[in-house]
Symmetry: C2
Subunit: 155 residues, 2 copies
Amino acid sequence: MTSIEADPTVPVIRITREFRATPAQLLRAHTDPELFARWVGPDGMHTRIDHWDARTGGSYRYVSVGGNDEYAFRGCFHDIRADRIVQTFTYEAEPDGVALETLWFEDLGTGRTRLRAQSLLDTFEGRDAWLRSGMDTGVNDGYTKLERLLSHGAL
Amino acid sequence: MTSIEADPTVPVIRITREFRATPAQLLRAHTDPELFARWVGPDGMHTRIDHWDARTGGSYRYVSVGGNDEYAFRGCFHDIRADRIVQTFTYEAEPDGVALETLWFEDLGTGRTRLRAQSLLDTFEGRDAWLRSGMDTGVNDGYTKLERLLSHGAL
């Protein structure tokens, strides 16, 4: 249901998934910290929001917690619009690695929206290491949780 | 004196220039808004700082003014360290284009520092259009002004 693809010509990961949601609901799912914390990341982990200022020019930091393990992520919001978010993303244990992420919310009508997400890195090695890290589990689990929130009317 | 190169394998522009300066001076030149406005951009233009919060998680907006022409640029600061700045960059007339910029200040000893700057875009077309836009004039003029400020003890 979720497509995760490596671009052959540029160091980009592309993720596509359709949701039974409006663009406004998907925007809220990515900008409201309490909603975001309820779906992001793999099953078995929970998310603690450390800092969250989801507006153009703002920034964020959150921590994924599972048992004794903590994984912190942070970045800044370059642009937040009704149909698009552009933000930076760093896993703090590898502070020199920075991805530029773009999310598009494409209204398909009849209450469905296509989420397209793109992560741009500056090397193919960095991109491929990220793909091999098990990110697909987190992405798939997260979107399944988001779908559940949507179907329960939480957004 | 300034090297401006297109990477053959990733959509990156790399700029390299050595300055008679310390890393701390180059950091200041890129983070102090009054200093930044005094050197950035081509000769014959001046720079108006509209918003400036040069810290990790902050953001900026400035306008290059020449006669009746105004060119606005904005972005967010992903990371500001003693030897590295990571920030986003958009020319507002083309709001969908976003570059992820990294600047490194490499201490060469004997009072010299190598500035390496990298602009990462998500397509080769976008990268090449930016290279053809005359950006080299702005880069070269700007760094010459920065060198003059350094030699006059302004930093």
